[in-house]
């Protein structure tokens, strides 16, 4: 559903804010945020129908992998729903912008941070829309390792049984989790087959191809049929060579030299 917008949001802008704020606050989770930068750009630039964050008929978005919230804060700032001054409070005292998103912040529908809870809330939001006969849709962005949590599969089964076509899950399939690679910790392949077996409408996409993400979502039937999942193949730390596919960048903050290199590599604009 295309909407009128006055700003355009690119993944490069999101990556730049992620790097700037991570450096300023000296915190990690950079690789996770870079992994979803293109997905978040597609969502906030084009996909999500949110005239303003207070509109009760807006699409809902749940960042179930809450530890990547900085990418969403970047999008909220780029949309003008929070200010640059807000952004500069990231991880500071008395800030609404913590590592994980809080609903008290304008533009955040649901607080997350505990993995395995977001899809249930999103499913409830989708059920609410159906009961209220509203065309609004609900998007939930999950990490792949989050699917280790049994509760995710409770929500998957419920949404499939009730054919919540207005629910779109996106899996950030970067193959990594906090302490290692998913294939070595808890095998998840084939993610697509698993969701298909549970009754979802599955689409495998390149999670760094914004155009493909937009086209795929545009073709979804969100008024009738099975719930949808985009299994988005991504690279952890995408855009910064020394972070890509490296476990340490789940938690590690950047040195000054690393920061400068990262800015250069993503094509940061000063």
């Amino acid at each position: 559903m295309l909407q009128e917008k006055t700003v355009s949001i690119s993944a490069r802008q999101i990556r730049q804010i992620v790097l700037e704020q991570s450096k300023r606050a000296n915190v990690g989770h950079i690789g996770s945020a870079l992994s979803i930068a293109d997905i978040v750009a597609a969502l906030y630039d084009n996909i999500l129908n949110i005239p303003n964050p207070e509109d009760p008929e807006r699409d809902r978005f749940v960042l179930s992998k809450g530890h990547a919230a900085l990418a969403v804060y970047a999008a909220l700032a780029l949309r003008g729903w929070i200010t640059e001054a807000d952004l500069n409070t990231y991880c500071g005292d008395d800030s609404l912008l913590g590592v994980h998103p809080e609903h008290a912040l304008r533009g955040i529908d649901f607080s997350t941070g505990s993995l395995g809870q977001g899809l249930s809330m999103a499913t409830g939001a989708a059920l609410a829309a159906r009961l209220q006969k509203s065309p609004r849709r609900v998007f939930a962005l999950l990490s792949d390792a989050e699917c280790n949590e049994g509760s995710v599969w409770e929500a998957i089964m419920f949404a499939a049984h009730h054919r919540l076509a207005n629910l779109v899950a996106i899996i950030d399939l970067n193959g990594q989790q906090a302490l290692g690679y998913t294939e070595q910790i808890i095998k998840l392949s084939s993610m697509a087959e698993r969701w298909r077996a549970f009754g979802w409408d599955v689409h495998e996409v390149d999670g760094h191809d914004v155009a493909q993400l937009n086209e795929t979502v545009a073709k979804l039937n969100t008024s009738d049929g099975a719930p949808h999942v985009l299994v988005a193949h991504t690279t952890f730390g995408k855009g910064v060579s020394y972070m890509e596919k490296q476990i340490k960048w789940h938690y590690w903050p950047m040195s000054e030299a690393e920061y400068q290199q990262a800015l250069t590599e993503i094509g940061a604009v000063q």
Binding site: S120, M121, L131
Partner: protein, 312 residues
Amino acid sequence: MRAAFANTITELAERDPRILLLTGDLGYMALEPFSDKFPQRFINVGVAEQNMIGLSTGLAEAGFIPFVYSIVTFAALRPYEFIRNGPVLHHLPVRIAAIGGGYEYGPAGPTHHGLEDVGVMRLQPGLTLVAPADAQQARTVILKTWDIAGPVYYRLGKDDKTIVPGLDGRFELGRAQYIREGNHLLFVTMGNVTSEVAAAAELLAVQEVNCTVLVVASLNPAPVQDLVEALARFETVLTVEAHYVVGGVGSLVSEVAAEHGLGCRVVRCGVKNSPTGTTGSQNYYYKQNGLTRQALVETALQAMSDLEVRSK
């Protein structure tokens, strides 16, 4: 209280379309008043209590008032973190109706006994927590709380027949209710074991021990002022609950007594030991844990005798 719950929310649902009822595949021969009348607003989510709370969070964000129903342990303990991070963190009006507080599911065994729910729920300042003593009070509880802001946890019993004499369905949030006045001992009680306490007070009266019985159904907000006034009048208070003695009404009374510098002795009657593996009826478990009317009489008499020894 189960029928009182189902009938009362069905009445309310006629007036307010925001009310939904979700169950974790429980409530056979209990929830039909609602499910027959509002099949579109009744959702059996299956055996998936974490998802049930997550769903309710999403539903409440959109303006619904979802009631969720399960047995105490599955309603409170399995999805506890979902409750904490969902309705509590988001300040949303999810209502958790937990059935079988204490030993009501007797022979079903320890997995079905609700012995710690009040303790863990009392930890959440943003959660209204109510444990009515009988079906009449349960009805008043629901009528007075169904549309309040924020989440509510209802600790309910299965029993709809036993009525606590003198309670007459009275309830007010943040208040406690006297059901009997006497000047020798004070009982403070919570939940469906209150009927045993009322019976014990009758038996004690025959022996010329006159008891005051105060019912605490509103655990959060706690009836602090009512408790302070009651505790100040007695040297000995017996708290009674079908719950572990840590975290429930015994803990609440002890906290109030300590914080207000009251000199009364608090004797906590409740569950003090882990399950042994043997099973039986509610009354069997009450006997094991000193919660029958006869056991409460003995504990009360012992407390009176301790008092006499102390005052000599």
